[in-house]
Structure formats: structure tokens, C-alpha cells
């Protein structure tokens, strides 16, 4: 597999074409805006919390295929997870896109393992991680409509 086809795996291309949970969430508990001034990527992440559990999550924004697919797959991955589980997943995801794949990825990261190719493209790491930083900013934000902002 060439590095380009490893970067743009079919799952990524498919999520870029039809992103999941791509909508405005009017009744969100938390919200954060993320933007990458380097490339102009912008997105908003909305969260609904039930106690400590992310019961619903949505996003909207402008970005490249990597950031759009990453946001889409992230929403699918964190829905139903506790705050701590979501943060641990972010840590493992960060390890994948910065350091490259490790043997345990498919077990611990599931579908998110498709981002293994990103580590070969240092300029694209921020594209993949922006949705996660934004989700984290929303989790950490105060319980009001505007949670916080993430800039990476």
C-alpha cells in the first residue's frame, strides 16, 4: 500500500463523503469551536451529557477529508462513552497519529485505526486531531451553550 492510499483509506474517504452525526444540536449541554489557523479548518462539536456519559455528539464545519472523517469517526467512537473513556481514547488516537501504528491499535482503537497513515504526514496530524481537541474543550468547558475553543 502506498503512503497515499494508506493515508486516504476507504473508510476515511467514505466518512468524508457521508459524515455521521453531521448536524447542529440545538439542545446540547456543551459546545466548542475548533479552528486551525494554519489551514482554515473550522468545526463545532456539540455534546449531550447524561451524568458522566456522552449520550449524544454532533459536529459541523469546514475541513479537509482527514479532519472531516476524523470528526465523523470520533462522534461514532465516543457516543455512549464516559468522559474518562473518551479522554483515554483521545490519548491513544494521538499516539497513533503522531507516533504511528502499534500492534494493539485494532483492538483498542477499533475503526479509528484507519488513521494510521497520518503519522507519515506531519502537516496533517493537526487535521486529524482538531476534532478531538475540540471535543475535549467541550467536555472541559462550563455547562453552558458556549463551551470553549480549541486551537491547534
Amino acid at each position: 500500500m502506498s503512503s497515499l492510499t494508506e493515508l486516504y483509506q476507504n473508510v476515511i474517504l467514505e466518512h468524508n463523503r457521508s459524515p455521521r452525526n453531521y448536524r447542529v444540536m440545538d439542545d446540547a449541554d456543551r459546545q466548542a469551536e475548533g479552528n486551525n489557523p494554519l489551514c482554515g479548518d473550522q468545526l463545532t462539536v456539540w455534546l449531550k451529557l447524561e451524568g458522566d456519559v456522552i449520550s449524544d455528539v454532533a459536529f459541523q464545519g469546514l475541513g479537509c477529508a482527514i479532519s472531516r472523517a476524523s470528526a465523523s469517526l470520533m462522534t461514532a467512537a465516543v457516543k455512549g462513552k464516559s468522559r474518562r473513556e473518551a479522554e483515554e481514547l483521545f490519548e491513544r488516537f494521538r499516539g497513533l497519529v503522531t507516533g504511528g501504528p502499534s500492534p494493539a491499535d485494532s483492538e483498542t482503537l477499533g475503526k479509528l485505526a484507519v488513521f494510521s497513515g497520518v503519522s507519515q504526514y506531519p502537516t496533517r496530524v493537526k487535521c486529524a486531531s482538531l476534532p478531538w481537541h475540540t471535543m475535549k474543550a467541550a467536555l472541559d468547558g462550563a455547562e453552558r451553550r458556549k463551551g470553549g475553543t480549541a486551537e491547534v
Binding site: S3, C39, G40, Q42, G63, R124
Partner: protein
């Protein structure tokens, strides 16, 4: 194949590409024979970001450090005298190259950005008052925009910008409306780095100066591609960068009209810019030394001199013709691709194409092109107001130099088609 002692050459390039011998020129640029991304031939179309360097420039820098290195304007020893003479000779060369009246109108800076900041902080900070206006345009690079916003904030002056049309040209009616007796300085790019638009600087400068405004031209994108004559342009300041002119990074030029430079206070202070220093007070050297505090980038000045020699040996007329042929071919072929929309279709354009591919983010196009060994810029080009004007987060920009070939345009076309297939 070798026929009667003559090495086989590349297949002939179809007309009109006749103004220069591109294969001979390419042989002067070592990096153009490099391969990238696992063996792909480098197709370098990011010249508006920085240009590549001919061996003549690389050798000039190497020669300086190998056999000539010394500080200037200080030592009495042999090497220092020689370095000083070479540094001053390079200043004369730049003055001639830009059509300045005298070498003392040429200030060496770190680049275009520093040159503009120098004018903003020296002239602007000491001259602007509340009620004054600085007029820029909506197509400026951040380097010709942010320094003016900052100095306006510092002095209470007002910052205004001439809007741009759908084609990416300046709205000249709006320019006339915005220009007033309050306008103290008009700052304009000669060539837009995001759109390629060549602005009618001579005409604009005449109109601005008629209202009593000074005129600063950002020539970062024009000096490498067209003959510049500051007296003919009628500007008071002209700024450009060595590294876009096939020279080294870290060196730039500010041309300033002598009478204006003479009246400007120093910006940075220290060694080499003083007349006399006591513990009570200091007085300043005359320009250009007044604006060159500290040890300048001497080797880079040598490299810039060699770059100007190189460009003049090829000839700016031949360069202009070749690049115009490249632009026509690229506009025709890339513009005809399904899903491609050109951004910036001014009637007068330099050799660059800014474009978007329907449904595909410019960064993804850039990554696919990169995989083919094609270097382009994908992003906002440090001109975010231009992107906002066209409602885009970013564009793909292919920018050409005289060492680019029609073959490379065809590689670009194949790359864009591949991007469309990958994301289609």
C-alpha cells in the same frame, strides 16, 4: 541515444515556448534534479512561497564563507575591507536593478516583511496622527496589512482597504472614493500572492501622490518576474525579498525615496547605525546605515547580488515571455478540468493559478499532488481577507518560475485529475 557526439536532448517543447533555453537553465538549479516521495521527479510549483536557487547563488555564499568572511564597516584588515567593498557593490547592484536614484536609497532588511514593518514603525509611528488614514487593499499579503493595522492602532490613525472585484482586481471606483486628503500612505501589492493579479501600480501611485499620500509597493511577487523601475512606478517605497528572487532567505530590500528616508527616525538601534554615541545621547548615521543596526546578513547580500546577476543574464524580458506562455498553457489546461474553478481571473496576471476543485478540500488536492512529486501551496496564502472575499477557506496555488516547463503543467493536470478520482 547519442548521434554524432551530440547528447540526445529532451523532446522538443511545442511552441510558443521559445524565449529561453529551459533545459540549460534547469541544469543551473541542482534541486530540480532531485527526486521526492520515493523516487518521483520534483515538480516545483511553489515559487510564490520561495524560489529555488541556481548554483551561482549557492557558490557565491559558499565562496564568501570559504575565503572572504569578515565583518563589514569595522575592521581595517584585508578581509574586512574586501567584504565591505563587496557589500557596498551589492547595494549598488540592487539600486540599478530596481531603478533607484542612488545606492543610499537601498536599505537591506531581513525580507519584505521587515522592510514594511520598518516603514510602518519608523515613518508611520512618527508621522501618523489621529484623523490620518492609511489605505491598503483587500488583496494584500498579511505582511502589507497587519503592520498598518498595528501602527494605526498605535497612533490613532484609521486603516482602510480598497475592496476587490469578483475577478480579483482592485475596485478602482472604490479606490477613488477611499482616497482623500486624509490619506497619508497607500500600501499596495504589485502582484497579489494569492490571486496573481498585477495591479496598475503606476496609475494608482500617481493618483495617490496627487492627493499628497506616500505610496509603498510590496514587490515580493513582482521583482522576481518583471522588470521593476521604482522611478517609473512613481512609488516612495518598494519592498522585496531575496529568497523569492532566486537568492537566499534572510535578505530583503527596502527602496525608499532619499528625502523621505533622510527624515525618518531609526527603528532598530545599536551598532553600525550611529554617528556618535555618548552616555548622555546618540546621533544617527545617514540612511541607509541608519536603518541597518547590527551586523547585517553579509553572506546573504552576496547571494542576492549573485541572484540578480543570474536573473539579468537570463533577461527579464525572456523570463516574462516564458512565464506568460506558462500561464496561458496552465490556465487553458487546468481551467478546462471538470470541477476546477479558477480563483482570480484578472486581465493582467502573473504566472500563478489559484484554484479550487469542487467537493475536494485544497489540502487534500495538495497531498495528492505531493504524492506525485508536485509541490504546490494549499492554504490561505497569508491573505485571509482574500479567502473571506471569495468565501473560501483555502485554495490550491500553483506558482511558476522561468525554470518550469510545459511538461510540468501536464503533470499538474494529471495530478488534479487523480485528486478528483480519489475523492470523487
Amino acid at each position: 541515444m547519442v548521434v554524432s557526439g551530440v547528447a540526445a536532448t529532451a523532446p522538443p517543447i511545442p511552441p510558443p515556448f521559445t524565449s529561453l533555453d529551459v533545459e540549460r537553465i534547469r541544469a543551473d538549479f541542482p534541486i530540480l534534479s532531485e527526486t521526492v516521495r520515493g523516487g518521483r521527479r520534483l515538480v516545483y510549483l511553489d515559487n510564490a512561497a520561495t524560489s529555488q536557487k541556481p548554483r551561482q547563488v549557492i557558490e557565491a555564499i559558499s565562496r564568501f564563507y570559504s575565503g572572504e568572511n569578515a565583518n563589514i564597516h569595522r575592521g581595517l584588515h584585508y578581509l574586512s575591507e574586501r567584504a565591505t567593498a563587496a557589500y557596498d557593490a551589492a547595494r549598488e547592484k540592487v539600486a540599478r536593478f530596481l531603478g533607484a536614484g542612488a545606492p543610499s536609497e537601498i536599505v537591506f532588511t531581513r525580507g519584505t516583511t521587515e522592510a514594511i514593518n520598518l516603514v510602518a514603525q519608523s515613518w508611520g509611528r512618527s508621522s501618523l496622527r489621529p484623523g490620518d488614514e492609511v489605505l491598503a487593499t483587500g488583496m494584500e499579503h498579511h505582511a502589507n496589512l497587519v503592520p498598518w493595522q498595528v501602527v494605526c492602532e498605535q497612533t490613532g490613525a484609521t486603516f482602510r482597504a480598497v475592496p476587490i472585484t469578483d475577478r480579483g482586481e482592485l475596485d478602482l471606483e472604490a479606490f477613488d472614493r477611499l482616497l482623500s486628503d486624509r490619506t497619508r500612505l497607500f500600501a499596495v501589492g504589485h502582484v497579489s500572492n494569492a490571486l496573481g493579479t498585477v495591479n496598475p501600480v503606476r496609475d494608482l501611485a500617481a493618483r495617490a501622490r496627487a492627493r499628497g499620500a506616500l505610496v509603498l509597493v510590496d514587490g515580493a511577487q513582482s521583482a522576481p518576474h518583471m522588470a521593476v523601475d521604482v522611478s517609473e512606478l512613481g512609488c516612495d517605497f518598494f519592498a522585496c525579498s531575496g529568497h523569492k528572487l532566486f537568492g537566499p532567505t534572510g535578505i530583503g530590500v527596502l527602496y525608499g525615496r532619499q528625502s523621505i528616508l533622510d527624515a525618518m527616525p531609526p527603528w532598530q538601534t545599536g551598532g553600525d547605525m550611529i554617528e556618535r554615541v555618548t552616555l548622555e545621547r546618540s546621533t544617527w548615521a545617514a540612511p541607509p546605515a541608519r536603518f541597518e543596526a547590527g551586523t547585517p546578513p553579509i553572506a546573504e547580500v552576496m547571494g542576492l547580488g549573485a541572484a540578480i546577476d543570474y536573473v539579468e543574464s537570463v533577461g527579464l524580458d525572456a523570463i516574462g515571455q516564458w512565464e506568460s506562455d506558462l500561464l496561458s498553457r496552465a490556465t487553458e489546461l487546468v481551467g478546462a478540468l471538470p470541477g476546477v474553478r479558477l480563483v482570480g481571473t484578472a486581465r493582467a496576471k502573473a504566472a500563478m493559478l489559484s484554484f479550487v476543485l469542487d467537493g475536494v478540500h485544497p489540502h487534500d488536492v495538495g497531498t495528492v499532488l505531493d504524492d506525485e512529486g508536485i509541490a504546490v501551496r494549499a492554504g490561505h496564502h497569508c491573505a485571509q481577507p482574500v479567502m473571506q472575499r471569495f468565501g473560501l477557506p483555502a485554495t490550491v496555488r500553483a506558482s511558476f518560475a522561468f525554470y518550469n516547463t510545459p511538461d510540468e503543467i501536464e503533470a499538474l493536470v494529471r495530478g488534479v485529475e487523480r485528486a478528483r478520482k480519489v475523492f470523487g
